[in-house]
């Protein structure tokens, strides 16, 4: 018998879902609201929710004080570059793990994931020294490489999961049809895995966009992305809440908009293969 859902139940479930959704979204909403307040209203007690004098002043100050476009461009280059580079390396890696697994494939996958359990600060010192030696400090290239390496385990793992869903016989058919390994990956595997690759791409752009530890530690002025832009407004002295919120809003807006427009792709990618 199909589960019958009563009207009341439906309403309760919907309300609960909205409550959870709002709870998660609240900090972002609060940041956006604060960005339109004056500094005094931003710290007023009790806090004001909507009844304040809406102002764009903070945005004006932030734009005047720092070069937003440069930070934005750095973020785009670093997040986009590290993701694309990661995908290029991860597709062949995931292919080999999914279709020609060895006895140690599972171990390698787990080992790769275990690197994500290491606190990043644990390798800060060696990486910092390497960056100095190689002259990569405060360069977009250096940051792109580091973020790619940081996220590579997740990219490989995700792609591996998607590739596992593709029947091996189709790749064998391609081989029988005269396809070289390159042709097989390029014309058969990759197009079939597009939904998976797209959601991996999106997720990693988001992760790289929001990454703050490495971007703050390895950049100064030239290569600093939007995370550093936000950080520059957090100060132990003075009233900066509203300006900080304005900077945060400007930093998260692009990725929020990207996420909104691609949510269908993201969800279908993340549940890929769950239902045949």
């Amino acid at each position: 018998m199909a589960r019958s859902v009563t009207q009341n139940r439906k309403i309760i479930n919907t309300a609960a879902a909205w409550a959870v959704g709002l709870l998660i979204f609240f900090p972002i909403l609060w940041t956006i609201l604060t960005s339109f307040k004056t500094e005094a209203q931003a710290i007023s007690d009790p806090p004001v929710f909507l009844a304040f004098d809406w102002t764009l002043e903070n945005y004006g100050v932030v734009m005047e004080r720092s070069n937003y476009m440069r930070f934005l461009w750095n973020s785009i280059v670093i997040a986009g570059g590290s993701t694309i580079l990661g995908i290029i390396i991860a597709v062949p890696a995931a292919w080999s793990m999914a279709f020609v697994p060895s006895k140690r494939t599972k171990d390698i996958l787990l080992w790769m994931l275990s690197t994500k359990m290491l606190p990043a600060v644990g390798v800060l010192y060696p990486i910092y020294l390497l960056f100095i030696k190689l002259g990569l400090l405060d360069t977009k290239f250096g940051l792109t490489i580091v973020l790619m390496l940081i996220n590579l385990p997740i990219i490989v793992w995700m792609l591996y999961t998607y590739f596992k869903e593709i029947p091996g016989e189709i790749l064998e058919a391609a081989r029988m049809d005269g396809a070289s390994l390159k042709d097989e990956v390029l014309y058969v595997l990759t197009p079939m895995a597009i939904p998976g690759i797209a959601s991996t791409l999106l997720l990693n752009v988001i992760l790289a966009w929001n990454e703050a530890f490495w971007t703050l530690n390895l950049t100064a002025a030239k290569a600093a992305p939007l995370t550093a832009f936000i950080a520059s407004y957090s100060s132990p002295e003075g009233l900066f809440y509203a300006k900080l919120s304005a900077a945060s809003t400007m930093a998260i807006a692009p990725i929020l908009i990207l996420g909104w427009f691609s949510q269908k792709q993201l969800v279908s990618g993340l549940t890929f293969g769950a239902v045949k």
């Binding site: 189709i170 058919a173 081989r175 029988m176 049809d177 005269g178 396809a179 197009p191 079939m192």
Partner: protein, 334 residues
């Protein structure tokens, strides 16, 4: 041209040897069927020939040239898979064109071959559809089309009809046989269905546990099975196999007699038995008779009109000239 020679080929997965040393020659233009129960190594053998699995030792030659270390893409063979294995993101036209695209054949020639194949396989109206929009039978036709356009040295079929319903299976069986008559290309066909083997093959290779039990034409295998396994496997319904004193009377450990070679009578005969279940097929009737000669009931074929009630006492007389005799190892006694 498409002569395929296997020379002392073996295959092991880890410590398990699935194909012990095996020699086999498939002549150019021959329709060869590998048949055997599931797990007998027939698909593995086909995949070894295709190059999709590496052989553990031995040699494979295609048209006299050693192909042991040649990758599948370079062997010049085409394969049709049980699951069809079509490219879901490509239209039927692109699916069929794929091997030609890989071979770098020019566009005009590609179109000519696609049109010819589509016409022969009744796919002309479906060329712009995706595989997901086709029925099982149509998908299998596309898979065959994709194989034909390569103009391969040999076609390899891996249980291509197993996913189709019974009626479609008979139709496709005829189409594949028809195609073989037309193209005269070597074909190797793997199936567990001995009816497919009997109806399509020029040569049947019966396999069990990776070992070739017998090689021969369908009628050779039917009329002169080399051992009790082949005797029991080829033919439907199966041959009746009788062991014990009745076999000893014929100087054999086991005797075999096909259902159509036993005469049934209500008055007299050599063996006595009781009628069990009767199967009326219209053209024939199969009686299952409990006789005490063997653990399983004996199957007897009679005319379509013949009727015998459940429990009737009957007499059976085997036609001595059609009796098969096997020794204690199950091997045929000439």
């Amino acid at each position: 041209m498409g002569q395929i020679q296997l020379n002392q080929v073996t295959k092991s997965f880890g410590d398990v040897q699935v194909i012990p040393p095996l020699d086999l020659t498939i002549e150019d233009g021959e329709f060869t069927v590998f048949v055997g129960p599931s797990g007998c190594g027939k698909s593995t053998l086909l995949r070894l020939i295709a190059g999709l699995e590496d052989i553990t030792s031995g040699h494979i030659a295609i048209d006299g040239t050693d192909a042991t270390d040649v990758p599948p893409a370079k062997r010049g063979l085409a394969m049709v898979f049980q699951s069809y294995a079509l490219y879901p993101h490509m239209s039927v036209r692109k699916n069929i064109a794929f091997p030609m695209r890989m071979a770098g054949i020019d566009q005009a020639e590609q179109n000519r071959r696609i049109d010819a194949a589509a016409k022969a396989l009744n796919l002309t109206d479906y060329l712009d559809r995706r595989p997901g929009q086709l029925s099982g039978g149509q998908r299998q036709r596309v898979a065959i089309g994709r194989a034909i356009v390569r103009e391969p040295a040999a076609f390899l079929f891996d249980e291509p009809l197993s996913n189709l319903d019974a009626a479609l299976r008979v139709g496709m069986r005829l189409e594949i046989s028809e195609m073989h008559e037309r193209l005269k290309t070597t074909m190797i066909y793997v199936t567990h269905d001995q009816v497919e083997a009997m109806t399509m093959a020029d040569k049947i290779v019966v396999l069990r546990a990776g070992i070739v039990e017998q090689v021969g034409s369908p009628l050779e295998l039917y009329q002169r099975p080399g051992n009790t396994f082949v005797a029991g496997f080829i033919g439907s319904p199966k041959m009746n196999l009788i062991e014990g004193p009745e076999a000893a009377k014929h100087d054999a450990a086991t005797i075999g007699i096909r259902p159509e070679h036993i005469d049934i009578s209500e008055t007299e005969g050599t063996w006595q038995g009781t009628v069990g279940v009767s199967e009326h097929l219209g053209s024939d009737t199969f009686f299952h008779i409990q006789s005490g000669l063997s653990a399983e009931p004996l199957t007897v074929r009679a005319g379509g009109e013949r009727k015998l009630k459940y429990g009737t006492e009957v007499f059976l007389t085997p036609q001595i000239e059609h009796l098969h005799r096997f020794d204690q190892h199950g091997l045929r006694i000439a």
